[in-house]
């Protein structure tokens, strides 16, 4: 231990790294936490809006975030009008940032957001640094839910991974996590990983889904499961894990649709060496929460206005850290929105925040972003939301203080796909609360 410390101290001195106790200071107009799709788009948009002193603080050694390990195609249809793989999409965004001279700090870990606003950052090149920023954009993305969060009973052997960890192992490290795989949850990452495993010769025995509908996009169910004959078992879950050192089997039980609980006595033993979990993403908001930013329990992201500004003036939030997206194209679009708004904030200060209109989810809707609309809103206000169930031929109602001001017809709304509406700012202005509800046109299954 002592030797190691001495070596590190010697190394630090040799490379003139900051030693403990010294704090460097940096001043930027806009500081962005996270160099994934949202952060890169935000930086580029802020630059294009006239704010050139923009710095990204990225935890890893490269930009791109989750896109780096998403080697499958299907990215960029909206943004670039062509179908790219994740690394290609990330490379385009990265190159755009490099062309603009955006300062990208790698292995830069943001410890906290303080008043100022100010970021406390630590990195091998920056040392301990206080970044004084005119505005901050939160673009930290999301994390996967884990076995611990699901409280799956059984032993604790090796061989249980989240789908994203498995994807990282396969696509970035060239390691196959296992040969006989049972997957719990049918989120998009899981479906994509199931196909990758099938390509590489592993046997994905089944994908289990606790609810009666999948959390993944339909295209992924067809092209990742059906194409390879991988069965999707709805209303099934893992109720036990067996194995001492390595997973040997799982117990799979049927789930009651009404109570959403496993039905006792239905457990079937499925031998396998690997369990993958694809049961949803949680915005990574530890920094935001610690800074006292007001959160939305529905979206699990910060509560924002139509410019993506959080409850703390000058701090904005965009991408998966704000709410979970299905398509990166919309993450980039949101990042750009936050980038432009942050640039405006740096140039002209904050807009009037009094008399904001509250936007709340009503019947059938789990959350709406933004949760606030300020009097400064003009033109159409984009509202993105998710529904709680499958709705065929639904009507989306927009109620202002209880009275309908607008409605939208849709072919179908499903929980796996984010929905959006655009509401005239003048229909919103002057009210206390806007409520978004959804009503099925045809009976649900």
């Amino acid at each position: 231990m002592t030797t190691k410390l001495t070596t590190n101290a010697a190394k630090a001195q040799a490379t003139k790294l900051t030693v403990l106790g010294e704090i460097n200071h940096m001043e930027v107009d806009i500081a962005i936490v996270g160099g994934g799709a949202a952060g890169l788009a935000a930086a580029n948009a802020a630059y294009d809006a006239g704010i050139t002193n923009v710095a990204i603080f990225e935890r890893e050694t490269a930009t791109g975030g989750i896109l780096k390990q998403c080697i499958h195609n299907g990215f960029g249809l909206h943004r670039f009008k062509e179908e790219l793989s994740g690394p290609e999409y990330a490379a385009r965004e990265h190159e755009a940032a490099v062309e603009r001279g955006i300062q990208i700090n790698y292995q830069a870990f943001v410890l906290s957001i303080e008043e100022g606003p100010l970021l406390r950052v630590i990195s091998p090149t920056l040392g301990m640094t206080h970044v004084h920023a005119g505005a901050i954009i939160l673009a930290m993305g999301s994390r996967e839910r884990t076995r611990g969060m699901l409280q799956i009973p059984g032993t604790r052997p090796a061989g249980i991974y989240t789908a994203g960890t498995a994807q990282h192992m396969i696509n970035l490290e060239g390691i196959i996590p296992g040969r006989e795989v049972v997957m719990l949850g049918s989120g998009d990452i899981g479906l994509i990983v199931a196909r990758r495993l099938a390509y590489e010769g592993a046997n994905v025995k089944m994908v289990l889904n606790r609810s009666h509908f999948s959390g993944g996009l339909r295209r992924n169910i067809v092209q990742c499961l059906d194409d390879y004959g991988i069965p999707l078992r709805l209303l099934h879950t893992i109720t036990n894990v067996y194995g001492k050192n390595r997973v040997e089997a799982v117990g799979v039980s049927q789930v009651d649709k009404a109570t959403k609980k496993a039905i006792p006595g239905t457990e079937e033993i499925i031998p396998c060496d690997t369990v993958l979990l694809s049961v949803g993403l949680i915005p990574e908001n530890e920094l935001a929460r610690a800074a006292g930013i007001v959160m939305d329990r529905g979206s699990k992201g910060a509560l924002v206005d139509q410019t993506y500004q959080t409850s703390i003036p000058g701090i904005f939030s965009a991408g998966n850290v704000l709410h979970i997206h299905d398509l990166v194209d919309f993450v980039s679009e949101e990042g750009e929105g936050a980038g432009r708004a942050a640039a405006e904030y740096v140039k002209n200060g904050g807009a009037e925040r009094a008399e904001v209109v509250e936007v709340v989810p009503g019947s059938g809707v789990s959350y709406v972003v933004p949760q606030r609309v300020t009097p400064a809103a003009q033109g159409k206000v984009l509202m993105r939301f998710r529904v709680r169930n499958i709705y065929k031929k639904p009507t989306v109602h927009v109620l202002a203080d209880g009275v309908e001001v607008k409605k939208f017809k849709r072919q179908i709304l499903i929980p796996a796909e984010m929905a959006e509406i655009k509401v005239d700012a003048e229909l919103i202005a002057g009210h206390k609360t806007i409520e978004v509800t959804v009503e099925a046109g045809e009976p649900n299954e």
Partner: protein
């Protein structure tokens, strides 16, 4: 008289997910039912006759720990996916590699090229 057979698909052109039924006569799709828009007809015929997919995989890079991600530059027949993945095994790229570099020409006689989707210095 030719025998009629029926194939069933869920259209993935949009989230509606129409349940399509394609009538096949002598290996030719003669009718599609169940669609709500014309994209469904096209999808149904393609899926029933010769479904195509873009294939993405990895190849090794000399002297690098990380593999290089690759994809076909156009969709290839689904039935050739295992052959395509097999053809990529054993390929080792020599850096520098640029996005778009051709890794394997005319893979499995499909006319599609496999291209790199990642940069290596």
């Amino acid at each position: 008289m030719s025998e009629k057979t029926y194939k069933h698909f869920i259209c993935v052109s949009c989230p509606v997910g129409c349940e399509l039924e394609v009538t096949m006569e002598d290996g030719v799709a003669t009718q599609v039912t169940g669609y709500t828009c014309k994209r469904g007809i096209e999808y149904g015929i393609d899926e029933a006759t010769d479904p195509k997919r873009v294939v993405t995989s990895l190849v090794n890079v000399k002297g690098k720990q990380m593999p290089c991600s690759v994809r076909t530059n156009q969709a290839i027949p689904k039935r050739l996916i295992p052959d395509c993945v097999e053809a990529l095994r054993g390929i080792e790229l020599t850096p520098p590699v640029k996005i778009g570099d051709v890794v394997l020409k005319d893979v499995c006689g499909t006319g599609a090229n496999v291209i790199a989707t990642k940069n290596f210095d």
